[in-house]
Symmetry: C3
Subunit: 138 residues, 3 copies
């Protein structure tokens, strides 16, 4: 069994944004030399997310509005967590979007349906944060 590990680093200019990381993840598979296996891709921070959905800008704006409705950023005082911080909403938004994805690798490629793309979801940005890619297989 082979194994591979890599960190991807991000520093966004906005508090919240989505970044398509599909190509970076596919590059990890090529570097690993693994043809058949399982890939884990997870946010290493608890106010960000890795998720799979459509790369369509209208949908991403819909998601921003929707997440703000389900877990609003303001007023900061509505959350007990925000005594020294202001990012309680980011913890909740990441909970809805998910920490990680697990993806099949087949013939050395992400085994994806027609529209699946991997995104880094940032909910408390403007600082250095990491995503982990771990692959096991043959």
């Amino acid at each position: 069994m082979k194994h591979f590990r890599k960190e991807l680093w991000f520093k966004t200019s906005q508090r919240r944004t989505f970044i398509n990381i599909t190509d970076q993840v596919q590059t990890c598979i090529a570097e690993s030399g693994i043809q058949e296996g399982i890939l884990l891709c997870n946010a290493m921070h608890i106010t960000s997310s890795v998720f799979i959905n459509d790369d369509e800008s209208g949908l991403h704006q819909d998601m921003e509005v929707w997440l703000e409705k389900l877990a609003p950023e303001k007023p900061y005082s509505q959350y007990l967590h925000n005594s020294f911080e202001d990012n309680a909403d980011a913890h909740l938004k990441r909970t809805i979007m998910g920490r990680e994805v697990v993806v099949a690798i087949t013939n050395g490629k992400l085994d994806f349906g027609p529209w699946e793309q991997i995104f880094y979801g940032e909910f408390d940005g403007k600082r250095n944060k990491r995503v982990l890619v771990k692959i096991i297989g043959d």
Copy 2:
């Protein structure tokens, strides 16, 4: 390390429905010959879901009502994604229900608690869509 891959295909008659796929997934394990390992089961489409919960019809109706409250289908015009499509709500519903499940295989069986069952959750049906089963182990 052995590996196994199979697609399960679905075409539902309704826009939204839940289908119990536990037996089909267990059959994949038997076909794979894998006794100890990890199974990934994921929707290959971004408007459907694979999730684990109870096979109880009242709960499934509760989930339908609940998802419609959190991410309503109509009016279609409330979502920017719906300029050429009408399925933005399906992307959001699938986000809540999740894309995938990862399950342990022990002694050649799904290593499940007493009520765990695997479901395909369709949120934009009436067309051919796929679920991927990938297994690695020995």
Copy 3:
């Protein structure tokens, strides 16, 4: 490929609570002798959750309030599932929080970012319930 399996048991005194199980999961890795691989940790019951977030009591209280807003326990009669039971809300809360986490193992340790901690999330407690830890790797 090595494999390891262990059940962790819980009986909470409250209907809902979060328990930090990071140390118990790390102990499983030590017992397994696996240095590089993938760890699955999942609730074996459909009214509880395993998730990764911050070990901060204010945030946990925020999550309790937030989950009650998104999927309220009462009135019990609002859910069809509650004809013989009263835990429909627990099924929905667990859906938001997630059934499982998948974690990388690197050099015999949980490969975690600075604040990642694993929690058992109980939404229908006061009885014996289980979490499964399954590890594969070398």
